[in-house]
Subunit: 273 residues, 2 copies
């Protein structure tokens, strides 16, 4: 706790960025819930921690599947600090809630992972749709699931990822209904953000990608698709999680859904042009 | 003819660009047909010549409707040379075939317009879909109408242009059927070319823009839209022509459909980034 208090003093003294402030609140266990809406404008990331012997395969899997698995950063083995993503960022404490998995089964959902940290663990931080949703909203495109206060609908598809080592499986996509002109604009906007899933992978014909019923998502909540709208599909960060779990690694750690890592990166700085 | 021969000698001596060579063949009336496929890689343009008293309104109309009316160049009144578009480019002779209109009615279809040229005429050159089709083909996206050897299907829509002076009317669009992933890529590719119609104006739901039957285009030829394809719609250069004709100007000149102006501009140089 002394470390935490020292960090807090730094924030108060220097007026540090809202992302660092949020991480310190989380580290101090003053916030244990979802991170949506916290530190607006800052990139939030999905976490996957694997033992070193699986990390190379997973890195290769992400390299081969950049749309569902856009890597923001990879840690050094055993090092919990990830300076590329933020000042004083400690992956063991700076996420509100974690999930600890053994042989593909969740065994704990702790608020920090100090007690299970190991010297062979490698942390992967992957981009998240929060970033491109900010860009879409700023472009004036309504987000149905946000307006409804629900989770975005997600679907397993018949699009196969490109396998690497033990990692393989279908791509999971998220869906946002849009008027056709907004769908065109959404392609333009999200194409600029390849590090957070980039452009849509599909528009308009869900049966072509193995989705039988839009109103029965595999994850998240259904949303209405109106007669004058097209369903627009993006590769989803649930893909690497479901692929990793299917490989039943002896040990791994993820964030708890919705409780993301808040980084010091600005969403706008992720734009490729 | 002496001028033409002198120009030809220049070409032969200096090995000038294929666009200039093509214009000299046309000027020399060695080619009187369509320009599709001539001087590949060079921008081709739609022509609209209006008397000066209508030119300001038409310029404003194009400014307000840049997707259907993307201006490549506007001449000085009475000056038939347009150096911004090409070396030694003479708008009176360098298009294979023209249409001369009086009060909105076509009265002649000559191979040059030397005899009807006037000191008050202003030439507008507008971008054409040939340019973005080259970019789409280079991106590996099939063009159904080209594969079928037919004209692209075009439709009057219920999308109203933004009027200016005497010029007003519905937008005309062209349609290309594509697989959904190709439609996403096509948005990316054509967004880079705002000077030749830019991104699609609509995808997937033709009834929303007033198109009742895709197989009955208002201009051009119908093409098949397969079950696994979406119809993708771009603003079309027929729009300014139909809008200008609807205003029944006392005098104007256009190119004959398919017989375009070949400029010295490279398609690749039109990319906005």
């Amino acid at each position: 706790m002394n470390d935490v208090r020292a960090s807090e003093s730094i924030v108060l003294a220097a007026g540090l960025n809202p992302a660092y402030e949020a991480r310190l609140r989380i580290r101090n266990q003053q916030w244990q819930g979802n991170t949506a809406g916290m530190a607006p404008g800052y990139v939030q990331g999905n976490l996957m921690i694997l033992p070193k012997e699986l990390a190379n395969d997973f890195l290769l899997f992400c390299q081969r599947n950049p749309q569902p698995c856009p890597i923001l950063a990879v840690s050094e083995p055993g090092n919990p600090m990830i300076p590329a993503l933020g000042q004083d960022l400690d992956i063991r404490t700076d996420i509100p809630r974690y999930r600890v998995w053994k042989d593909g089964v969740m065994v704990d959902e702790p608020f920090d992972i100090n007690s299970v940290w190991r010297d062979d663990l490698v942390s992967f931080l992957l981009g998240c749709s929060f970033s491109f949703e900010q860009a879409l909203i700023e472009a004036g495109i309504p987000m149905r699931h946000i307006d409804c206060g629900s989770n975005v609908p997600m679907y397993r598809t018949n699009i196969q990822t490109d396998p690497a080592g033990v990692f393989h499986g279908p791509m999971v996509v998220s869906m946002r209904p849009m008027k056709p002109a907004d769908a065109v604009r959404a392609v333009q906007v999200t194409s600029r953000f390849p590090r957070v899933h980039g452009a849509p992978v599909h528009i308009g014909l869900p049966h072509m990608i193995g989705i039988e019923d839009l109103y029965k998502p595999d994850f998240g909540d259904p949303v209405e698709v109106k007669d004058d709208e097209l369903p627009v599909f993006w590769a989803c960060g649930v893909t690497p999680q479901s692929v990793a779990m299917a490989a039943r690694p002896p040990f791994c750690i993820t964030h708890s859904p919705g409780a993301m890592l808040i980084t010091d990166l600005l969403n706008h700085r992720l734009a490729s042009f």
